[in-house]
């Protein structure tokens, strides 16, 4: 790990000021991803700004929804009684990710800003456009089993690793940020970006900005939801494919559908066309297959991850069936019903 300066502000304004326009400065909260990246010399910050003392660790009622402070830990969020009751999709997605130790440390804001777990991004001996723009993508034509099938570019096929963010995408959360130009709110769908020709940039956060909260709207889809995560181990592994499905039903007719995928793209992959297709249709396997086909119509395999396309198709159908039946996937008993 390189040497760095360390500052510990007590207010958001102090934190933003400490970051300033210094491209080598980094905020640190849980540290579970940043310290790991520093140990691999992927990140070499000149200054760490310890934001753990900022007053951003509360979950508050707001406009019928909840405002989640950026420093609320993943564990505190997943086990909060209001989240479990009103947004169980979010609680389940969080509990599907990482380990208990990591969830106890990792923050809400940090979860949004975690970097890809692409092997080549971590390996400083190999070219990587995300780590060193312009050097090329080692994953394309390399060991690409875990990589993206949707929204890739010729410059990067990395995936966003978060489970929590897949649920936040489906729930239409809003990310509130503060920066030198003031405060603004970013719709979740616009927070993360696709790699395009600038894969070094994961998000649309402007330089100098800090996440202060993630706001949930009132609709929580508590009646019909599931988070179905498929991976190489039953626990403590990143998703090969995951599905956040949420429905509102009138009898057996779909009134509203939300559908987001993890493990398949550079950002949580929400497809509003597939959601629109489901609206007004009966909650049947046939409808769900049509939605899955639509989501995966543009899917593009790499050399060894083509299995993800069929896996995602089946996971979408199964996820929507679980949501419709009101039988969400258990995050401890991993049998898939």
């Amino acid at each position: 790990m390189n040497r760095f300066d360390y500052v510990r502000p007590s207010t958001v304004a102090e934190a933003v000021q400490a970051l300033g326009s210094d491209p080598a400065a980094r905020f640190i909260a849980g540290g579970t991803n940043l310290i790991d990246l520093m140990k691999y010399d992927v990140e070499r910050p000149g200054k760490l700004i310890d934001i753990t003392r900022l007053p951003l660790d509360k979950i508050e009622e707001r406009d019928g929804g909840l405002r989640i402070g950026a420093l609320v830990t993943n564990a505190a969020l997943a086990y909060d009684a209001r989240i479990r009751e009103r947004y169980p999709l979010l609680a389940d997605a969080i509990l599907a990710g990482a380990s208990a130790q990591l969830r106890n440390a990792a923050s809400t804001g940090g979860n949004l800003l975690q970097r890809t777990r692409c092997y080549y991004f971590y390996d400083t001996a190999t070219p990587c456009n995300k780590r060193e723009p312009g050097t090329g993508c080692s994953a394309i034509g390399g060991v690409d089993r875990i990589h993206a099938i949707l929204g890739t570019s010729e410059h990067c096929i990395a995936t966003h690793p978060s489970d929590m963010c897949v649920a936040l995408a489906a729930l239409e959360a809003t990310v509130r940020v503060s920066g030198p130009q003031g405060d603004r709110a970013i719709p979740f769908a616009e927070f993360h970006r696709l790699p395009g020709d600038d894969p070094a940039k994961d998000t649309n956060l402007a330089p100098g900005e800090i996440i202060v909260s993630v706001d949930l709207p009132a609709r929580g889809f508590a009646g019909h939801h599931t988070y179905l995560k498929l991976r190489d181990r039953l626990s403590y592994a990143f998703a090969l494919v995951s599905v956040a499905a949420a429905l509102e039903l009138d009898g057996r007719t779909i009134r509203t559908a939300r559908l987001a995928l993890g493990g398949v793209a550079h950002k949580p992959w929400r497809n509003t066309d597939a959601e629109a297709l489901l609206q007004g249709r009966p909650a049947t396997r046939e409808s769900f297959k049509a939605a899955a086909d639509l989501v995966l119509r543009e899917a593009k395999p790499q050399s060894t991850n083509g299995f993800k396309i069929e896996l995602a198709r089946r996971a979408i159908v199964r996820g929507l069936e679980q949501a419709a039946a009101g039988t969400p996937q258990s995050q401890s008993d991993k049998r898939i019903q």
Binding site: Y6, I28, S99, A100, Y236, S332
Partner: protein, 174 residues
Amino acid sequence: MLIDSGSPGGVGTIGITLTINGERRELQVAPWTTLLDLLRERLDLTGTKKGCDHGQCGACTVLVNGTRINSCLTLAVMKDGAEITTVEGLAGLAHREGTNSLHPIQEAFVEHDAFQCGYCTPGQLCSSVGMMNEGHAKTRDEIREAMSGNICRCGAYTNIVDAIEDVMQQGGAR
């Protein structure tokens, strides 16, 4: 600003206070020192193990203010003011006057033969206590899931779950 290590490039150690296994310690640390390295290299508390050093194995698990975390992914300076419990301090958590006993989870690991080489054991023990403090896991499936951040290369998992279940049935952590 609560703390500022000083000008860029300055060597800048920072004064912090930690209560480690009940003992208050005033320490000067370089900001890049992980909590794990502080415990092992500076304080000779080598019970906490360095396995992967990347948050993947759980051997470095300690309790910070009663909550289990990976000490390898935590900078010591960030835990200024915290209470740290390592495997060396577990018995003290459960100490009863006039006895010289282990923590119940330690007793149960011995009773159930819940280890072979023992390298993951300090992390397994601290993680078990942290899990019982959390109070969410009730069934064997839930225990296995809640302990999935602790890898045992010898494969003692079945006996580890037996040991934890035993202690939970006797009333849990102290």
